[in-house]
């Protein structure tokens, strides 16, 4: 081992070009932070720097697609595969949408703009590292980088009791979940003797302590379950989402959740595969598949039923985000049961596409909720949307498109996403998974009630008090328009993106660390 370390020190395998997209985002965050400390009065420049960084990073990421580089960088710490590239693109899109959607909010609430944008960029950097991490250490560090930045963002409205409460709950329960995840990582390390995911996959069959492997993976399911808000680990979600400022809530429901899914997928689908002839690996594989399927069933049913009972739109969207985590789990479990690498990549791409669509839709919806909510999101109940349909036709139309996409209406991107994540699970023919898909379809039917309720409220209710539509700033208009166009476009022409997501870099995910 010491020889290995010595060799690493003399010839460090530190290929900076392979993590350039991540570095650019982190650099943009640092530049924003510095700029803000010299010009604290600025409102728009830090956002522009952030957008520029995100754009450069996205271009670099797209250029990396299918390049001739094979292998892992940084001594096997960083992966170079479709999971990383497609999720990276999703996170960058989320960050860009959040910056655009929060322009008005930043203005009226007097939030420290530079701090907010720097935190957002650091959170994005952390999420990208989570998707890129090929080692439990990198995944853990990425997770904490994004979580710590998000804790602060939830509490950005310092004087507001609800924002404080949201940050406090998010912080305590988030670090509680991290401790579980970490204990799981420690036990998996103990059972296999390595923290590198391809090496874990290679040694699950011959693990020294199979029992620890089982306990460790269960702990990791608890930890990741908290982060992606699977029932019964979702308790923090509604309170935190309701209390946090609306643009941040949109970010939290889309970004950290998708990031947690990306590492969750990497650790479980790629790290705990089915190894032929190895009993311990077989038991582990079967256990996590069935456990996740059961959690998915509970999550979908609970999220949808609880969403019906809500009167606050932000809370309703919080429960709907729980349900959507359940739908994404269907694709996840399907990826776990895939028999060939191609099928597995397709299922992973389906989950990435689903979360991409969910993120766009959700961020668009939260942009409108924050616009209509006014200061401190006071106007976020269903009654506040009474009869606004024909008074602000563009906003109501956009919000309706988002609701229909969340519902999974054909011709919207949400429909394609659902079909894609359900397919691998159905094709596997496993009884539990077919049940899961059936429950997911029933859940979608239940969800029609609360999504369509918003449409009914907007278009068919009378408004008692006078109401003038708010002024829509151009940045917010861009974000909403982009989201509507994306939802409708990917509802019809999603092939290109899905193919791109499923076939990325050469030697996808099967690269072994060189040691």
């Amino acid at each position: 081992m010491s020889n290995f370390l010595l060799a690493q020190l003399t010839t460090p395998n530190a290929d900076v070009t392979l993590i350039l997209p991540e570095i650019v985002v982190a650099l943009a965050g640092i530049v924003v932070m510095l700029y803000d400390s010299f010009f604290p009065k600025q409102k728009a420049v830090s956002g522009a720097i952030g957008m520029l960084g995100i754009l450069i990073s996205a271009v670099l990421l797209v250029l990396m697609w299918g390049d001739s580089y094979s292998g892992t960088a940084w001594s096997g710490m960083i992966a170079h595969d479709n999971l990383r590239l497609s999720f990276g693109l999703v996170f960058l899109m989320i960050a860009a949408m959040t910056i655009l959607a929060s322009t008005l909010w930043v203005e009226i609430e007097g939030v420290p703009t530079g701090e907010f944008h720097a935190l957002l960029l650091f959170a994005t950097f952390g999420m990208m590292m989570m998707a890129a991490g090929n080692d439990l250490v990198v995944i853990f560090l990425g997770l904490e980088t994004s979580s710590i930045a998000t804790y602060v963002m939830a509490g950005l409205r310092k004087g507001d009791l609800r924002s404080n409460e949201s940050a406090l709950k998010y912080f305590v329960l988030g670090s509680f979940a991290s401790a579980f995840l970490l204990y799981g990582m420690a036990l998996v390390y103990g059972a296999t003797g390595t923290t590198n995911i391809p090496l874990i996959a290679a040694s699950v069959g011959a693990a020294k302590f199979p029992a620890l492997l089982l306990i460790g993976s269960a702990m990791m399911i608890v930890g990741f379950g908290f982060k992606v808000a699977l029932a019964p680990f979702h308790v923090w979600t509604p309170d935190v989402y309701e209390g946090a400022p609306a643009p941040i809530t949109g970010f939290m429901a889309a970004g950290p959740k998708a990031a947690a899914f990306s590492s969750f997928l990497r650790v479980f689908v790629l790290g705990f595969p089915l190894v032929a002839g190895a009993q311990a690996a077989g038991i582990l594989h079967e256990t996590w598949i069935s456990l996740l399927a059961v959690l998915g069933i509970i999550t979908i049913l609970f999220g949808n039923v609880a969403a019906i009972l809500q009167n606050n739109i932000k809370r309703m969207l919080a429960y709907s985000s729980i349900a959507h985590a359940g739908y994404a789990t269907v694709g996840f479990v399907g990826a776990g049961l895939a028999k060939t690498a191609a099928e597995r990549n397709e299922a992973i791409a389906a989950v990435a596409f689903y979360l991409f669509v969910y993120a766009i839709t959700n961020l668009g919806a939260f942009a409108i909720v924050s616009l209509l909510g006014q200061r401190n999101d006071r106007r976020a109940d269903f009654e506040d949307y009474n009869g606004i349909g024909f008074k602000a036709p563009l906003l109501s139309f956009s919000l309706s498109v988002f609701m229909l996409s969340l519902l999974g209406m054909p011709l919207t991107a949400g429909f394609i996403g659902k079909v894609l994540v359900f397919r691998p699970a159905l094709e596997s023919g496993n009884v539990l998974l077919v049940t899961l898909v059936v429950v997911a379809v029933i859940g979608s039917a239940i969800s029609a009630y609360y999504y369509l309720r918003l449409l009914v409220v907007m278009f068919f209710r009378e408004r008692a008090v006078d109401w003038t539509p708010p002024r829509v700033p151009s940045a917010l208009m861009t974000a909403i328009a982009a989201a509507v166009v994306a939802v409708l476009y990917f509802g019809l022409f999603s092939d290109g993106l899905i193919r791109r997501f499923s076939t990325a870099a050469p030697k996808a995910a099967d690269v072994r660390a060189e040691r």
């Binding site: 560090l141 602060v152 609800r162 409460e165 709950k169 912080f171 401790a179």
Partner: protein, 101 residues
């Protein structure tokens, strides 16, 4: 008795359980946070024990990362607690109940 791997794992399991129970039953946010730190230290002990058992440095490296992250978490957490305390004159989590169904 010479301490072996099982002793360390047992101790870290006990510490983790104490921390976990503490988070569930403590009502003071600072106390809860201390219990979370206890859980993280239990994890560190597990890593170090296995690191020694396998004669592999990766476990110890992981512990460094956990410690630095715990420090960052503490800095942010205390800031959040102070903001909460300023507005409410208490860090009892039971007073955090505006957001409920």
């Amino acid at each position: 008795m010479e301490p072996n791997l099982a002793t360390y794992l047992g101790l870290s399991g006990i510490l983790f359980t104490i921390g976990c129970v503490g988070v569930v039953f403590k009502r003071n946010a600072l106390g809860m946070f201390m219990c979370i730190e206890l859980m993280l230290n239990a994890v560190n002990l597990t890593f170090v024990a296995f690191s020694r058992y396998y004669a592999d440095v990766h476990g110890q490296l992981f512990v460094f990362m956990v410690m630095s992250v715990a420090a960052a978490e503490a800095a942010v957490g205390l800031g959040i607690f102070i903001a909460f305390f300023r507005n409410r004159q208490s860090i009892d989590v039971d007073t955090a109940s505006i957001l409920k169904n």
